[in-house]
């Protein structure tokens, strides 16, 4: 039920959500806000097997920022980027802006092991059931 701000510099705002565990990310991701994003991702992924990232409010995201998001999966190839966190997990992206989906496909990161795009594009909501327990397949 709880959500609390973990980063806000006026350009990028990140809020952590507990049900489901993850982050709601809003604003612009570029070089200046990248450190805040990486810090929030590291804190959020630590010790978790699955996290949900709500991206509906992302108005701009550069390639480096997208890489950081994809590397929250801990995919093997991410280690060298310093974003690997040493373990792997499922990362479910919600409300992904169309342009980010296009970029994910161009760069081929959409098939990164552990990464899933919520086909319904539904933002994580407080109290939402875990993936496996959701009634029906509401799309």
């Amino acid at each position: 039920m709880t959500s609390c701000p973990v980063y806000d510099d006026g350009v990028l705002r990140i809020t952590s959500t507990s049900h489901p565990p993850g982050l709601t990310i809003e604003g612009e991701i570029d070089e200046s806000t990248y450190p805040g994003l990486v810090q929030a991702l590291q804190a959020s992924t630590s010790g978790r097997a699955e996290i949900h990232l709500s991206l509906g409010g992302v108005s701009y995201c550069d390639l480096a920022g997208l890489r950081a998001i994809v590397c929250a999966t801990g995919a093997e190839d991410c280690e060298a980027s310093g974003n690997g966190h040493g373990d792997s997990r499922r990362v479910i992206l919600h409300e992904v802006p169309a342009q980010l989906i296009t970029v994910l496909q161009i760069v081929g990161w959409d098939s990164t092991p552990g990464l899933a795009l919520d086909p319904g594009g539904i933002a994580p909501e407080p109290g939402r059931l875990p993936e496996g327990d959701r009634p029906g397949s509401a799309v």
């Binding site: 070089e31 200046s32 550069d62 890489r67 190839d77 991410c78």
Partner: protein
């Protein structure tokens, strides 16, 4: 990832259907025999020839018409890389690709870009286990294009017999010899933005410019993304101020960055496919994927990066519903 420099690249110069088949068929069939992924990217006429020659086995060959497998050279490179990455089995799995570029109807500028790509493949695909034969049809090609092929491929192949290309030119040297002409100067009075590292300010500027050119939706977003990635690259090169100017020309919106004192000496910048492992120039690679042109010059007076995207008058997207960028 395999980094054993396994990329192999032959030109096949042919002057008849029979000569084409004498090289193409054994190359593809050996790949099928070995259980390797095999891709034929060529003209519709040559695809039919291959299909008839291979018989039922031809059904196992992945194929594409050249014109639809990478619209421009950076996208072509990415398409080859993606095929290898998605189809090679294991870290050292190899794939075979027959890759015949389209030359007919191209402008001199495009022919230079495609020739340069043929050369650059030797470097930017070096980590990929790809065996590639590029057929060149002397019945239809300008002799200069065929001469170019012998400069851009380290070896030729006829039938199953490879031989070194005597004219092969070091790809870095080749690239530098091709990128020496000056880029068009911005027209007098072109709106300008002094970019000193403020990426948000740069995005505002270019978004406003896009709106003034009547660009909306994906078209505008793509321009903003490409310009911002170029800005991020320049920012990472160190302090300095680039003059950013935009203008419209028939069929295109151009954005030009000029930065005194900037030196760019990587002739393959923007062509190496981006990976999860970060590398300088990844952002320029993305810009190159989504723009019609991305040209880089470096000289005594500094560095210039000029990109070009389709204007609102472009109708290709309208002809292909569902495609938001020109692949």
């Amino acid at each position: 990832m395999s980094t054993d420099g396994a990329f192999r690249h032959w030109a096949c110069v042919y002057d008849s259907d029979q000569q084409f088949l004498q090289t193409a068929v054994p190359f593809l069939a050996e790949g099928l025999d070995a259980g390797d992924p095999v891709l034929a990217v060529t003209t519709p006429a040559n695809l039919e020839l291959i299909s008839a020659a291979l018989g039922p086995r031809g059904g196992q060959v992945d194929y594409a018409e050249s014109a639809f497998f990478g619209r421009r050279p950076p996208q072509r490179v990415a398409a080859f890389y993606r095929y290898w990455k998605n189809h090679a089995s294991g870290s050292d799995g190899g794939v075979r690709i027959l890759a015949e570029p389209v030359w007919a109807g191209r402008s001199a500028r495009e022919i230079a870009a495609w020739t340069r790509m043929e050369s650059a493949l030797n470097v930017v695909l070096a980590p990929a286990s790809i065996s590639m034969i590029c057929p060149y049809d002397t019945r239809t090609l300008d002799p200069d294009v065929v001469t170019g092929a012998l400069r851009t491929h380290p070896a030729q192949i006829a039938g199953s017999r490879p031989s070194p290309s005597a004219g092969f030119t070091d790809p870095a040297e080749f690239a530098r010899s091709y990128d020496t002409g000056p880029l068009p100067e911005p027209p007098a009075g072109a709106p300008a933005f002094p970019f000193d590292g403020d990426l948000r300010g740069l995005r505002r500027f270019i978004a406003d410019r896009a709106a003034s050119y009547g660009m909306t939706g994906d078209r505008a977003d793509i321009l903003v993304l490409a310009v911002s990635e170029v800005g991020a690259y320049l920012k990472n090169q160190g302090p300095g101020t680039a003059a950013v100017r935009t203008w419209e020309q028939p069929g295109a919106i151009v954005c030009d960055f000029r930065q005194p004192g900037l030196s760019i000496d990587d002739p393959f910048l923007g062509l190496r496919p981006a990976r999860l492992e970060p590398s300088p120039g990844d952002g320029l690679w993305l810009a190159n994927q989504i723009c019609d042109w991305l040209e880089i010059r470096s000289g005594a007076d500094g560095g210039t990066i000029q990109l070009q995207v389709p204007s609102r008058h472009d109708q290709e997207a309208a002809a292909q519903p569902g495609f938001s960028y020109r692949a």
